[in-house]
């Protein structure tokens, strides 16, 4: 028997869709392992978010609006999750496979002297063992891993891999005690928000991506952004485009950038070099628009349309918007 703990990444009561995906999957994993599903929500705004999580099939939501979580980097959160895992005993910790989630997950695993399986897209029970399925080497291989020599395990879960479904009998929300005797030294001085997509790339269900074929920085804002907005998605880019300074690196998809698996990926003016492919080849449906019929992206896209990328994007925006208001 093992319990399941999800780490909720949040700030000021705002979280991402992946939290609800984790909450839904935690129930399934807890049932497989014969344990309970717990969530840990920390920092300013945590109580409001905990109320929201009641609508998901969890057993217990542990909450503390500890100001140290907002003031100090990562360490307080790690302390809380570690303390809860030790209190529960044998348990599986699920964290989102995001920049912050990976940081928390890797430290919790080290504290518990246990293993971590990253970027997991499926969890199942085989011969009494929890099996974690994860694409590796940019989706070129699919791995199945299990924990051993340990009563704990940490799993970083890829956003968009699991469905988020409200339901359940209503979790108990209860306070979690602040771990005693800790001092923190790495301080967050300020947050700076830059112009970025409203939806994080890793969790966007639709990604509209641009490459060097777009010619300049300008169409990312004037053409791709409106199309992404029509889909309720986010804009991504290739490394060449980020290197050219057309977009910030936070928008780069592929090797040394982000790995995404949206339901729909539309690539405009992207040739499809291996360095880009490894970051997006596990997307649900891939459509590419390129003037070159021989572009490598044609080898793995579901559809390659040989045409002017900007013109097609503009017209497609019109069609999608018209469809929405119809």
């Amino acid at each position: 028997m093992s319990d399941v703990i999800i780490f909720v990444e949040q700030r000021g009561g705002h979280t991402r869709k992946v939290t609800f995906e984790l909450a839904t999957e935690a129930r399934k994993v807890a049932d497989m392992l014969g344990g309970k599903a717990h969530a840990v929500v920390l920092g300013g705004g945590a109580p409001a978010l905990a109320e929201q999580l009641k609508g998901y099939p969890l057993d217990v939501v542990h909450v503390n609006d500890d100001a140290d979580v907002d003031t100090y980097l990562a360490e307080p959160e790690v302390d809380y999750v570690e303390a809860l895992a030790r209190e529960l005993g044998s348990s599986i910790v699920l964290v989102p496979n995001t920049m912050h989630g990976r940081d928390i997950g890797s430290r919790v695993a080290a504290r518990l002297k246990t293993g971590i399986v990253a970027d997991v897209t499926d969890l199942k029970l085989e011969d009494g063992k929890l099996v974690c399925v994860a694409p590796k080497l940019g989706g070129a291989f699919i791995t199945s891993s299990a924990f051993k020599n340990t009563e704990y395990g940490v799993v970083t879960v890829r956003p968009n891999a699991f469905a988020a479904e409200a339901g359940g009998a209503g979790a108990t929300v209860q306070p979690i005690a602040k771990p005693a005797g800790k001092t923190y030294v790495v301080k967050i001085e300020s947050h700076v928000e830059e112009a970025a997509a409203e939806i994080g790339l890793e969790e966007a269900a639709v990604i509209i991506s641009g490459g060097r074929g777009l010619g300049s920085a300008e169409p990312f804002d004037s053409v791709l952004k409106p199309l992404a907005k029509a889909f309720g998605g986010a804009v991504g880019a290739t490394r060449a485009v980020a290197d050219a300074g057309w977009v910030p690196y936070s928008m780069q998809i592929g090797q040394t950038g982000k790995t995404v698996s949206p339901r729909l990926y539309i690539a405009f003016g992207i040739s499809g070099a291996i360095q880009h492919k490894v970051g997006m080849s596990t997307s649900g449906t891939i459509v590419a628009v390129n003037t070159d019929a021989g572009a490598p992206i044609g080898e793995f896209a579901d559809m390659l349309v040989v045409a002017n990328a900007l013109e097609v994007a503009t017209e497609l925006t019109r069609l999608v918007e018209a469809n929405r208001s119809a």
Binding site: G105, R107, D119, N149, S190, V287, V289, V320
Partner: protein, 262 residues
């Protein structure tokens, strides 16, 4: 100031990968090996700090590889690192992220450091768990996702990437940071650097010398690989050559409609 950079030796992204049926691991022999691209950014950040802080700052490269990886490590020296430590031992085959943190931690305690800089991810495993594991093992502050080092004299002030911007973070030294590629494009080794690298020292540690037998190898790992297989193939899709852009957009729209994606 003594800066240490952890470097992983990985198969070249563009090389064809093969899996050993018996061990279920990547066949590394005969493969073109490179420095993990993320670690090149870590090294670049270290070299820029050294240029900024002056001659009494040194950059040491630390790497763990089951076989002899000296050739790959030479590139780091050619880029400008001062010396390198290679933990090279067959017993390391199959060591997981937790074990890697312990092994590198033991080496770094021996070597000494004021600041450790890691790449944020590895190109082959993409677990991204080693920097956190290493900071925990050494008991030093760990700062992840650093995109810019504002200052590193006496204490640290850095910018950490977040999903919608960044946060300014400060903390004491010694510390460990892991960097994103926004820290700056890695330099190419100069001819002078390549010649000079041949004379720079590479020290090798074994598992026994570091006293980390309990963390090394597949037997001590906390995870086990059950299978490693190519996914069901994604075939070549359809190629459409529309008469004009409007028709192209219509073809895409209809296709997405059929798949319930709009």
């Amino acid at each position: 100031m003594k800066i240490a950079v952890t470097v992983k030796i990985v198969p070249d992204t563009t090389a064809e990968k093969k899996i050993d049926a018996a061990t279920k691991r990547l066949v590394r022999t005969g493969m073109n090996l490179v420095m993990n691209p993320y670690d090149e950014y870590a090294l670049e950040a270290a070299l820029r700090l050294k240029e900024q802080l002056g001659a009494d700052t040194t950059v040491t490269v630390v790497s763990m590889y089951p076989e002899n990886g000296k050739e790959t490590i030479r590139r780091a020296l050619a880029m400008g690192a001062d010396d390198a430590y290679l933990i090279s031992d067959a017993a390391l085959e199959g060591t997981d992220a937790w074990g890697t943190g312990v092994v590198l931690g033991a080496a770094l305690r021996k070597i000494g450091f004021d600041l450790i800089i890691c790449g944020g991810l590895s190109d082959d495993g993409t677990t991204g768990a080693v920097p956190g594991a290493l900071a925990e093992d050494l008991g030093v502050p760990g700062i992840a996702n650093v995109r810019h080092i504002e200052s590193a004299q006496g204490s640290l002030k850095v910018q950490c990437e977040t999903d919608n911007g960044y946060q300014v973070v400060n903390g004491p030294l010694p510390a460990l940071i892991s960097v994103t590629m926004a820290v700056g494009e890695p330099r190419y080794p100069s001819l002078k650097g390549i010649m000079g690298a041949k004379k720079k020292p590479i020290t090798t540690f074994t598992v026994a010398e570091l006293d980390v037998a309990g963390a090394a190898g597949a037997a001590n790992a906390k995870t086990e690989l059950l299978s490693f297989a190519p996914p069901a193939g994604r075939g070549k899709g359809q190629v459409v050559k529309p008469d004009d852009s409007a028709q192209g957009a219509r073809v895409i729209f209809d296709y997405l409609k059929e798949r319930k994606l709009v």
